[in-house]
Symmetry: C2
Amino acid sequence: MSKTFDVVGIGNAMVDVLARCDDAFLSEAGVEKGIMQLIDMDRAVELYGNVGPAREVSGGSAANTIAVVAALGGSTAYVGKVKDDQLGAIFAHDMRAQGAIYETAFAPADDEAETGRCIVLVTPDGERSMNTYLGVTENLSPSDIDEKQMSDARMIYLEGYRFDGPESHAAFAKAIAATKGAGGLVSLTLSDPFCVERHRDAFRAMLRDHVDLLFANRDEICSMYQTTDFAHAVSQAASEISIVACTDSENGAHILSGEARWHAPAYPVDIVDATGAGDAFAGAFLWAHSKGIGLETCGRMGCLAASEVISHIGARPEADLSELFKQHGLL
Amino acid sequence: MSKTFDVVGIGNAMVDVLARCDDAFLSEAGVEKGIMQLIDMDRAVELYGNVGPAREVSGGSAANTIAVVAALGGSTAYVGKVKDDQLGAIFAHDMRAQGAIYETAFAPADDEAETGRCIVLVTPDGERSMNTYLGVTENLSPSDIDEKQMSDARMIYLEGYRFDGPESHAAFAKAIAATKGAGGLVSLTLSDPFCVERHRDAFRAMLRDHVDLLFANRDEICSMYQTTDFAHAVSQAASEISIVACTDSENGAHILSGEARWHAPAYPVDIVDATGAGDAFAGAFLWAHSKGIGLETCGRMGCLAASEVISHIGARPEADLSELFKQHGLL
C-alpha cells in the first residue's frame, strides 16, 4: 500500500544553544560530562548566564533524525511541541525548510513554560554535555497525535527521551496503534542510558511487543539488558526485535536481523562536536531502509552521516549527504 | 587620564539569521547581492519563510567589532537597543559573555517592533547579502546615551548604519560631545555605500569636525567623495581626518595618517562567508591602536582578523585571535 510518509518522527522539539567550554567549566558548573541532564528554567538561566558566546540552531534528537531523512529526499513529518515564541518559530522554520511536514499544535503564548532548549557544552575533545530544559515539549499528549498521519507512515520513529512526561506514554501508544493498524513499522531510539534506567520496564514491554527496528548505542543497550557484556546485550535485543542497529562510537555500528549480523566501520574524522552523531546515524539508516537498500549499506550510510555531523559544530549535516554517499561508493 | 573603557561602540543591535542559498534564489527573491537592504517585518517573514534551515548568532556591525576588541582583552561597552524578548536575550547574553559591558535599556515587551534581525544569505562564492529588519534598534535616542560612560571612553566607535533613524543623529551628537569633552577620540565606520548616499552631507560634516579615525571600504569611500578614483578618495579623506583605515577586499588595507601611508596585505584564505570581515578588521585595529601598537601593525592585525572571520560561517571570530597574531609574528 502506498503511504505518504517514509518516516514520521515523534520527540522533544528543542532549540540547541551551542557553546564551547573547557573541562574546568563543567566541573565548576556541576555539569556531568557526556550525558544529557534535565534542568529547570532557573538552572537554564544560571547556566546560560555563565557560558560564553553561543549560537542557536534547531535540535531535538528525533527532529535531527527527521531532518536527515528529509535532506536525503525522504518524505517525512515531525511531531513535537513548541510554543508560539521566537525560539518556537526558529524550530518550526528549520523543520519545514528542511522539507518535513510540521503541523504540531503550538502551545499558547501565555503558557508558563517556554519552547524547550538544550544548552550544549562542547569541550575541546569534541564531547558534548547536554543540559535540557524541556519546557512545553514535555506536554506532548495523545491529542497531539494525528492517527491519520500515523497510519499514513511506512515507519514511525520514537525518541526515548520523550518517554519523560506524564502523557507521553499514552501518546506513544496511540501512535503505535495507528501505525501498526495500518501495516506500518515502529522504530525507537533508546536515547540515553539514564533515560533507559528511568523507563526500563516500559521500554522492555515496548521492545517485545511493538518495536520493529531499534537504535541504541553501547551504553544504552547494556543498560537496557542490565549487563556489561555488550555482545550479550546486542544478541538479546536481536532475539526479540526484527532489526537492531547498535552504534559503538569509533568502533562503528553493529546491525543484526535474525541470524544475520553485519559490522559497519566508523569513518575516521577529527571530532569537533559529537552532538547529533546518533541522530544522524538513525536518519541515514532510516532513509536507506525506506528505500529498500540492504541493511549493511544502511549501517555504512549511518556511520558516514554521523562522521559528517561530528566534524563541525551543530547536530545537523552541513554537507550534501547524497553526494557524500556517492563519493564513498554507497550510492 | 585613565579611562575605564578602551572602546565604546554604538550601533544596530541585531541577531543574524544565517542561511545558505544559490544565486538563483537571490534573483527569485529579489535580493540584491552583496549589499545591505532594509526590509520591513512582512518582508522579513516572507524571506525567512523561503530560506532553508538557518542558524542564529548575534550580529550587528559595531557589536561584532566590540566583540573582537573584547575577545582580545580590551575593555569595552556597547550601546544598541534590543527588546525584552528571546532574540534580545540572545544578543545581550553574547555581548556580555564576550566580556563587553552591555546595559542598554531594553525596549518594553509590548513594543510593536521586535528585536532587530538580519537575514544573511550566503552564496557558494562566500558573498553575503544582508536583509535587515531594524525593529527596536531604530529607536536609539539621546536618552539611551550615558554621558558618563562616553566620557570614560578612550575612543567611541560609531556605526554608520545607525544614522538611519529619527533620533540617532542627536544620539551620536550627544555621544561625540561627551567623549570629546573628556579628551576621548571618535571613530566611525561608513558601513555601506548606500548608507553613505543617504547621509552624505551629515557624514561629511562629521568627518571634518569630529572624526579622528575613519573606517571604510573602497565602495564606501568612493561614494563619500563622489569619485570612482579610489586613490583620490583616500587622499581626500586623509586630508581631513587624522587616521584613515580603508579596506579593499583581497587587496588588503591602506592606512593613512598625515603624510604617512602603509599598505597591509590581505591574508589569503578560502572565503566561506564574508559576513563581518570589515567589522573584524575594525575590531582588531581599534584594539591594537588602543594598546599603542603602530598603525601598520594595526592594519595587519585587522586583515588577519578579517581573514579568520571569512573562513567560516558567522561574523564573529571562532579562533583565539591573540594566538593567531602571535603565530604570524604580529604580537
